[in-house]
Amino acid sequence: MPLSDGDLQALWLTIRLASMVTLILLLVGTPIAWWLARSRWRWKGVVGAVVALPLVLPPSVLGFYLLLAMGPRGPLGQLTRTLGIGPLPFTFWGLVLASVFYSLPFMVQPLQNAFEAIGERFLEVAATLRAAPLDAFFTVALPLARPGFLTAAILTFAHTVGEFGVVLMIGGNIPGVSRVASVQIYDHVEAMEYSEAHRMAAVMLIFSFLVLLALYTRRPEARKG
């Protein structure tokens, strides 16, 4: 085995984290994207800007504020205490929550674009064919937005895999819980274990390339359908 157990554990943890975050964001991000695409509320730009914030905030800054918020004196920390859930920092789910914030725009923006591209007409047609708004969403908007979903899911997954600054801030580098691949590689480099670092980096590079290749070779089909 070219990779150590620690390395494999980190990779597996990364995949679990990225998958969970992508799933959650598909559920959470879709209604947000739909609302942003369709709403005519005057202040919708504010919501759009808030969603886009993680794009411009340095990840370690985002991580630091989440650390504060999830800590015993912060709003999220107090909420979890009242709900009987333990503190979130240094846990897998704390990392999931932080990553959901961090990768939010990568899910919402492609979806929003896809929904906007559908335009009004098809939904009007659906309404004249007796489809209630929710029905039209599931039977017309979703199928037509499918390429957008693919892009959004892959971008979100890839972005979460590459996450580092946020994890650094609130992860605590606990093996199997928050020692994700990016941190593992960083530690190898810091400890001057360069060959281990090279090996892990190579594995991640190949994996990411294959995923992106899948995205870009499927595209023409998706566009036609």
Binding site: R121, F122, E124, V125, A126, A127, T128, L129, R130, A131, A132, P133, D135, A136, T139, V140, P143, L144, K224, G225
Partner: protein
Amino acid sequence: MDRISAHFHRQWPGFTLEVELELPGRGVTAIFGQSGSGKTTLLRCIAGLERAEGGRLNFKGEVWQDERTFLPVHQRPLGYVFQEASLFPHLTVLGNLRYGLTRAKTAPTVSLDQAVELLGIGHLLARKPEYLSGGERQRVGIARALAVSPRLLLMDEPLAALDLARKQEILPYLERLHDELALPVLYVTHSPDEVARLADHLVVMENGRVLGHGPLAETLSRLDLPLQIGQERETVLVGTVGERDATWHLARVDFPGGSIWTRDRAIPLGQRVRVRVPSGGVSLCLTRPEDTSILNILPGQVEEIAEDGHPGLTLVRVRLGESAVLARVTKRSLAALALTPGQPVWVQIKSAAVME
């Protein structure tokens, strides 16, 4: 109550819709006007696609909109045909047709097979919309709107996006629709051709207002409405085929007010037909002409006279019993014959100029 009553007063930036209409609850009502006249907006308001606050809409006794209620589009038992077919690209033709079927809760008045047959799209069912021609797509769009068994069919310039050949291809289908289904249709168009061929009732709009409306033949012969597009005005006589002359290949159409001979189009006796009479094919005489090549000479009465575009021309509306036709007469002839309203005249209608 068998009528459709629509009251809409709404302002958009740069445009106001002010409509108070009572329309028949059967037959095809054409809503005619130039672009920007508000006809599509009116249709969309009736459909509920535009929300005109404070509007009122009553369909045969059902309140679809008033001060307190607004029935959402998907709950109105209507069908809507858009200008571009807008077929769902992710479904086949059959999938598109079936979409409304499973959702419509009204008692089926039109079966899927009937719609498919009426529009002649049986051979296209398995295809995806991107593989259809423009005319085929529009026919599917119409069939799809019918498949939900609507009690009111709204059509927004369904032929506008098609070339002449496609239009000629689909018009017969629309005529069949009209003849075979007892479905009230509101048909928005800016084409006098479509109006003449399809409408039973005509609404004329300009700048968001209704200038006039009424039964087709009567409204078409009005001189105070902006109905002229292109070369000349025309009127329509609606009658039945009374006789067919095999020797001369002519057919006689009887209408309320007289009869005229036209080319025999192999239309069976007793069938209802429309005869379009272009104003340029109608001439007037004070005495009954003899030795003329024109077959149709009918007694009538001058009703109204108006200008006809060019300063040298006038339009004269002549009453033929219960019907009326328009005659294009030069001012010089008008003066020479001293034509005035109320004056009896002989009306010559060139049968060669009459169409089916």
